[in-house]
Amino acid sequence: MSVNSATGTRLRLLVGKVGLDGHDRGAKIIARALRDAGFEVIYTGLHQTPEMVVATALQEDVDAVSLSILSGAHNTLFPRVIELLKKAGVAVPVFGGGIIPEEDIPRLRKAGVKAVFTPGTSTQDVINWVKSHIRPRNEGSASRAAKLRRPPSAARRGTPGRRKATRR
């Protein structure tokens, strides 16, 4: 399911930790769960600005951007990432989660955030949502094919094939 059956390409997802807080527990769990579910995951690491996230998203040619925000700055950071992606002329869906009060969610959805996951969400719920809502972009494009052939160079990119035993 995580592999598009028509083209055989695997979805590439960016997991971004924007803002100044260091709460990366959730982002790391989600990144790992998405990888284990068969997606290709690019994790940005901590303390990213919206500009840095968007630059990575473009460079890595991802199919979706997910953001983890626990600093209370979600009303600033989500719209900013969406705006910068728009400016760059790419239609990459943005979703995310963190400590986000219920009443802020409609505003974020209106700003273009495709889904907002709040504390207590299981990783399976996120995986299911991705499977049913995210589709590969630029299918068959030459640049994408070239990128997919490129071997994973950075440690931050995890693929199921490279997975070591993780449970002890």
Partner: protein, 561 residues
Amino acid sequence: MKQGGASVLTRRRTRREWEQEVLNPALRKSPERMKEFTTLSGVPVERLATAENLESWIPDEKLGLPGEYPFTRGPHPTMYRGRLWTMRQFSGFGTARDTNRRYRYLLDHGQTGLSVAFDMPTLMGLDSDDPRSAGEVGREGVAIDTLADMETLFHEIPLGEVSTSMTINAPAAVLLAMYLAVARRQGVPWPQVRGTIQNDILKEYIAQKEWIFPPRPSLRIIVDMIAFCTRKVPLWNSVSISGYHIREAGSTAAQELAFTLADGIGYVQACVEAGQDVDDFAPRLSFFFNAHSDFFEEIAKFRAARRIWAKVMRDRFRAKDPRSWMLRTHAQTAGCSLTAQQPHNNIVRVALQALSAVLGGTQSLHTNSMDETLGLPTEQAVTIALRTQQILAEESGVASTIDPLGGSYFVESLTDTLEREALSLIAAVDRMGGIVPAIEQGFPQREIAEASFRYQQQLEREEKVMVGVNRYREGGGARIDVLKIPASVEPTQIRHLKQVRKRRDPLAHRRAVEELVRCANEGENLMPAMVRAVEAYASVGEICSALKAPFGEYREEKTYF
């Protein structure tokens, strides 16, 4: 019981006989709820602890008496019969003026200690007008850019009378300098200034992840601060060695214990290597642990922490002053255990966690508010959290006797188990050459990420339960009020900062920052120059950015597995 005929009449079953004759038939009739029982951290819990668990256990060695080595029963001879733990609630939001108003309200209502929460930009050493600060100013704590803000924060608060705890790490030296500068302006001599600064950078690399410089120069700043406080601010607790954030990042109890104490060993080692006498500074080191949800495991953790530290300080560092052996700690209930679903249940969680910290013998305690998974707490939620502590202290009777669980077969064997597990992790850190190389190799970070992922999987398989989250769910969810930080805070704070920059003497400012950088380059103690720099109204962001030249910047490997 073993003598004469009486034993035949009164003889009880041995454990083995009980298992065969009583237990096994009962198990055959109805099996236990689970195949295996474990603590929250995964430590196996046996069915029944008996005297057999403590066969080779020597009370004099393992327990001692309160206020005596190895301090398992508590650091003070009277514990809560003499003085209750300090109820210290952490707060800060918006601008310095907003928070000052809250502090004066708290002091007017009988609180004697303050605990400052700084906002994210301040914690990262950034000014409010830095582009990276956008959206974060004053949101999770108070925004402090220059000494002018610090003067406002403590306006009409006599620093000679209150004790202040400041939760700040990477830029801790700057904030301590500002606090001392305010004290000087109030005419309070530094030897009278009392308080604690968290200043625990090692756990930032491990867990909380708010860093500026790489580990080695950061450690040097802390060594400078410890030496400076020993000489000039002797009542100041110069580091609060913190396991809280390690646990919040998803560690087990034993990992929290081990990595925190390993950090402590790292600081002591660095100071000793810099030529300080261990007994000069060790009595002013304090600790900060999490009070999580597994009741007995937490109690055991606090008790084991004191025993391990006493031995480390006496035997490894050859400290002679018993105050150097004594682990004094603050505790805070576990933020990560609170649920956004059915938030009122959090009141009960906090009460149980607080009770475990008290039975574990903590010296001070922060109880979380039920709404903290949703935002900063409202005044009503904070009051319930504080009342929880008062009920424990004054209604429940638990403060009337010292270490009431001492001698419990189960608690003592769990204390031994946690001690053993922590010592084995500390030994692993030692084999890597100490905590700094271990951090550089990512060892604690990996161990914690692994434990956190394991726990998430257990939750999803319902092997571990969070009420209201993976069991006893309700639709909809209760709405509760949360504190709103007005959008005007950020522009107001930026305006203040610009005014200060315009008003200050530019030449004095430049010279003071250059002098600080010179001290950094030439290995002089940074603190005197730091105080002069903040007195010239150099901002947190300007100072931290100037120090990146001599110290460099930390970059973490972007790995999630």
